[in-house]
Symmetry: C2
Subunit: 252 residues, 2 copies
């Protein structure tokens, strides 16, 4: 019988954020992180800390959140995945579990992240989508939003597109590699990929793009706001959390 | 000022069945019908009865349920729709409201109904789909299920594909106009259209097709079960309600 040794595991996690306070442990409401830690503690018999690639807010979902954790267990990664999914509530699923190098870090090793934001653009919101998309009943010009999204691509100061920038301690410069807006029937999908995102950055960018789509702002206004480097104003509202999915995290 | 007169309205209703006991009023838990009746009573100021095209079970959803009701109101159909959607919970939406002839009957006037059933066929169920599709982790042969589905098309005795047939009082003969099974990525969609369906008929047919897809039954077995006209057995399980949507109802 082998002695269990401490090993680092890397998980890809999907969750429906509806019932949680978000990814991170909060004092008075359950979080995805806490639910995973308690499940893993039940399996391994020791206290567990799990580290995500980043936080997601209350109501935000994930398709491909990545997290690492150090566990002392005899289980191989596949058995661990099965044990987790058997114990976890159905709104959190481990999609993959693999052994990781001891220097792998879900947040610090990440090189690229993709978020997707879903909008339902029709008079009436289908009930089964209400927790997984934002409802916009008025007409939206998709090509205009796509044009504006392209203006975000590149290395910019996103001070105008983050809540609580806390600019003294953290740079607000980030790089966006791709940003597209596509429609299929009434469903509009925003796909944005970058080297990292500030607090509420994706929801702020989508919030502004929805104003562009409605005709309240021009696509050209994006560059002006980026260049000004001033703090976020009422011109840049946050799109609701329900439409947002952390889609994928890339590593070297 | 016009005196309000009693008029018949026809509604197309979408709902997420998760939180309800089903369409029909039940003694001890809220139903979609009851929620609509109470909302309309609040708007009109008189007690309201609403008649659906048919019942849906607990957990079953609707994209295009049709219902009629007689209301005494000064509101036109569009204003009535807006007033309803403003008061209804977000998991029930009126998609359209129109005036109907006084002899229109949501159930008796229906000539054709379409149901869709959704399956997610992959090892792990995406959390946001768990209430709107059935999870089948083992491989399914889609073309084999499609072939079996075609055997249901036509006028048959569906006694073997209904729960509680109550054959003394009601015929178990129905006609199916079309039945297809298609896949797109991990999502498998069953579309079935017929002149009417027996209690749990769609879920029984899908339950059997899933056994065909898994290799436990052959496509040829469908005809044998239809011809035998015997009651439902363990060979014909009910697929879970969460995957089922009442999609559309047709009228002359």
């Amino acid at each position: 019988m082998t002695t269990p040794i401490l090993r680092r595991f890397r998980f890809t996690v999907a969750y429906d954020g509806t019932a949680y306070s978000g990814w991170q442990v909060q004092p008075r409401s359950p979080s995805v992180q806490q639910t995973l830690e308690e499940t893993l503690a039940g399996i391994t018999g020791h206290p567990v800390k799990i580290h995500g690639s980043g936080r997601t807010d209350q109501g935000v979902h994930a398709c491909g959140q990545v997290a690492h954790t150090d566990l002392t267990t005899r289980l191989d990664a596949t058995s661990l995945l099965r044990a987790c999914n058997a114990r976890l509530p159905a709104d959190i699923r481990i999609r993959s579990a693999v052994l990781a190098r001891s220097d792998f870090h879900a947040r610090r090793s990440a090189t690229r992240k993709e978020y997707r934001y879903f909008v339902w653009n029709d008079a009436v919101m289908p009930p089964e989508r209400r927790l997984y998309a934002a409802h916009v009943p008025h007409p939206l010009d998709v090509s205009r939003m796509h044009e504006a999204a392209r203006a975000f691509v590149g290395k910019h100061d996103f001070a105008a597109f983050t809540a609580n920038p806390n600019r003294e301690v953290e740079s607000t410069v980030r790089e966006i590699f791709a940003f597209t807006v596509t429609a299929r029937g009434h469903a509009i999908t925003f796909r944005v990929c970058g080297n990292g995102f500030l607090y509420k950055q994706v929801r702020s960018m989508v919030g502004f793009l929805l104003r562009v789509g409605a005709g309240a702002e021009t696509p050209e206004a994006v560059s002006g706001l980026l260049d000004a480097r001033s703090s976020r104003t009422a011109r840049v509202p946050s799109a609701i959390p329900q439409g947002l999915f952390l889609w994928r995290v890339w590593y070297r």
